[in-house]
Subunit: 526 residues, 2 copies
């Protein structure tokens, strides 16, 4: 990516001229003069540390290493190390998801991730979804409790990743000098102990969008007390720092070309733009795609069917299960595969109904209490010994999600007067992005019919953006610029979607010219 | 002085657009946006106060007053006040002298000093002079003790000046938002709890010359905990923040003309320069002038003779006593008057000896155990019922001081290749400057023979500079510039002075061409 590493913490060796009658500047000033000459300006000692730092400069005989923190405004001398000190210089990055917290231990001297892990969000017992947690946190005590859960879990995680990296977890304060945290608007409010209630009621006002640079000790993080604690800013109540971090991870804000970022979580968040402009929106498109709503849906975890193939001639079905276990359910990418393959085999009509006419050609179409269903895995193959089926209702739910997604993508392009075909890169974030097969998603009309190389799976963009923040001092300013220039459209209050949406409920769409690459089988015409 | 008041604490009324679906920026961001638009940038909340500030913005319905602190690098929102809050907005300035602490309570909204006072330095029991205190403070505990004495005295003083200003001293944290402190290098080390031992031993290295902006709470000052605490920087071990503040008070750093600042304390500190360059030195010239060495010398306090007149024809003597009391001693300006008047009346020779030839014309010339003496006040006039006399020895001491002073003034001019007559203004600081009569000082050859309007008595320049810091946001940068450009000459290691010095021991000088305005009476030629 970059030529030179320029992280938010700088490791600066110094060897100062010794005090003399000819050069009788003060001890602290001697170091400060040297650092300023080398471009570390403005420069201050960490608050309350002037004395210790100045004494240490003399103690080390004017030779050592200064650890400097860039807080977005100035350089701060955090610590003076003896030259023989071989402690690593680390940062930690966190993506605070509603469900899981992803953590990264980053080597700031060498620019590498030395360990990463993911743990459950400890707030889940207080609400699976973020709204229930907002409702729960209706007193300062309960709000504080949710904050503490989060901080404790992060502290535990820091201990664990240090252990995994063979570092003494009790010495975190001697290793970790910067922490970057990205989360949605509510999670970042919980993290900062701020009342999130304004986020979910009109006019949807967060307490804070752009956070000041914090110190780790302010929130009780057990790293160096003066470590930089950066919380990615939110753009609005429904567009959080996690997506801003995602933009950073894609680099779309530095590109001449127009790119798009699609982040499917509970909401689908979409960002469109380039280095000059940026527009974003969010809409409810996610749950079915994350496998949370469909009867046998599940997250992309061991036991989930994540790939399905159907031979259009024989209608023979094969699938892949994550962890190569017996199937327990089907995840988002599995569902998309399933719908796409059923459609191509004529097992689904363009209206998204299971094609009963093919009952005679396959035993997988059955009638159940919930109506017509399609057996993905037979009882003798599954983990629980029951048929793993998908019903017309399930498919309807999925089609609503895919229609919402497609509508959002088109709507956002139209908002800025471009055609979706002008988009050169589409970054697909999240587990979803890693598992989804763009070809299948195009076939069902969820993603636009663009060359397959347009689609780039990105994994956890939010976590990656947070890591990038630690490693590149320019990122903080870029984040500010993104927040300044981005236009956020609240889709929740936008009705224009409905017209679009209806056409997109079909497979792939009522207007097949939008999907020239998708062959519509005769059987699917119903 | 200035057209608009621009103090380090800004009192900014705001009336923000209310949150709406069209403008759903965060509560904190709403205020920050408004303030930034109005030029308060960069802007941050006080550390640890984001939540309280943001809540308060909402609580006050987006209308109120923000108190902003300029710390030299950025604006910091300290507090949000309701519009009906009528608390004053105050700052406190301190001149930490070795002997006394001068305090000023400053109204930052109106740019006025509302109260001022002066108290004894509580460290005096640990050493009259600064060197003894450095010797005393040879353990961290004793150093801390001296610091605490200082802080406690300052806190007491704050309470007292608030009371005097009819403000509740328990509410200091609701009134005082900035504190400026100027002191010599050692006093500022004591204040900041820094080991001063390097100051008095070769190569004379302070721990810190330029202090970062502190918070009042860091040192336990009982004002607003986030109040700006500014400690004037030192230029070197023997050139402290008090003199830097003095330069600020004179404004010489903003002038095209060359000016000079003379500050007579324990040392005589002299600064020469203009807006482009500046040179400074310090030398032992003070004690006698402060009245501390001469037998009957005393500080300019009640009971001190501060003015003397002698009729050259009748040799009749009259004097003025501070506080119109019976005389206890004689202060610096009184001594200068006395010498000058004795000289003019022929009672002193140009060598500075009492002219015994005039014994027959005045009963004031007497012989004592200490040699020939001159009675300034007879026993029946004095406070202690003893003659108040001055001896040849006393006069010799004073002449050494005046010679040192004159030598320093000339030497510093020669260093930069100018003639002392090129100096357009000479600011004379301190009690000394307020009491001294330049005509008399010229007559004895202490000050150069320049037009009388050249000499401007300034009083406590250090205190005034500290007040000015509070009232003018530009001062902090000017201070930095002064420290950057000033050249400090250590007179302690300079022998060239001696040649000059010998000529200056005479009254007014061995070379009378240097003092064309001074008439040398025949009798004085000895």
């Amino acid at each position: 990516m970059k030529q030179t590493l320029d992280p938010v913490i700088s490791y600066v060796k110094y060897d100062l001229p010794l005090p003399s009658l000819q050069d009788n500047t003060g001890d602290w000033d001697r170091l400060a003069r040297d650092l300023r000459k080398r471009g570390y300006e403005p420069l201050l000692p960490s608050p309350g540390r002037l004395k210790d730092l100045a004494y240490r400069i003399r103690e080390l005989k004017f030779r050592g290493t200064a650890l400097l923190k860039w807080n977005g405004f100035l350089w701060e001398v955090l610590e003076i190390r003896a030259s023989e000190n071989r402690n690593p210089l680390l940062g930690a990055a966190f993506d605070l998801g509603t469900t899981r917290i992803a953590s990264y231990l980053v080597d700031l001297q060498h620019g590498s991730i030395i360990h990463q892990t993911s743990v459950e969000n400890p707030q889940i017992p207080y609400g699976e979804d973020i709204l229930s947690r907002i409702v729960y946190a209706n007193t300062p005590e309960k709000l504080k409790h949710l904050q503490e859960l989060l901080i404790n879990r992060i502290n535990d995680t820091i201990r664990n990743i240090l252990k995994s990296a063979n570092l003494n977890p009790d010495e975190a304060h001697r290793f970790i000098y910067a922490v970057a945290v990205a989360g949605n608007t509510t999670m970042s409010h919980f993290f900062a102990g701020l009342d999130p209630s304004g986020i979910c009621k009109e006019p949807y006002i967060p307490v804070v969008n752009r956070f000041p640079p914090f110190r780790a000790s302010e929130f009780g993080l057990r790293v160096h007390p003066d470590a930089l604690l950066y919380l990615f800013p939110n753009v609005g109540s429904y567009f959080g720092g996690d997506v801003v971090a995602g933009i950073i991870a894609t680099g779309m804000h530095r590109s001449e070309d127009i790119s798009m970022l699609i982040d499917v979580g509970t909401n689908a968040e979409v960002v469109l733009g380039n280095k000059d402009w940026m527009i974003a929106c969010a809409g409810a498109a996610g749950p079915a795609l994350e496998g949370g709503v469909v009867e046998r849906g599940m997250m992309a975890a061991p036991g989930a069917i994540d790939q399905v193939r159907i031979n259009p001639d024989t209608l023979e079905l094969s699938y892949h299960v994550i962890g190569d276990a017996r199937p327990k359910g089907i995840c988002g990418s599995g569902l998309i595969d399933l719908i796409a393959e059923m459609f191509q085999a004529g097992l689904l009509t363009i209206q998204g109904k299971i094609n009963k006419k093919l009952k005679n050609k396959t035993h997988r179409i059955i009638e159940t209490e919930d109506g017509t269903a399609f057996v993905v895995a037979h009882a003798n193959e599954t983990a629980d010994g029951a048929d793993l089926t998908i019903t017309d209702i399930d498919i309807g739910i999925l089609l609503k999600s895919k229609a919402a997604m497609y509508t959002i993508l088109n709507m956002i392009c139209r908002k800025v007067g471009i055609d979706i075909r002008d988009v050169k890169k589409i970054y697909v974030a999240g587990t979803f992005g890693n598992h989804i097969d763009p070809k299948m998603a195009i076939r069902i009309g969820m993603l636009p019919d663009l060359p397959l190389e347009t689609f780039i799976p990105m994994g956890n963009t939010s976590g990656k953006g947070a890591v990038q923040f630690l490693l590149d001092r320019r990122v903080q300013r870029e984040v500010e610029e993104i927040c300044d220039k981005i236009t956020y459209i609240e889709l929740n209050v936008n009705v224009e979607l409905m017209h679009e949406f209806r056409g997109a409920l079909f497979i792939p769409h009522t207007d097949p010219r939008l999907f020239p690459s998708v062959r519509i089988p005769d059987a699917a015409r119903g």
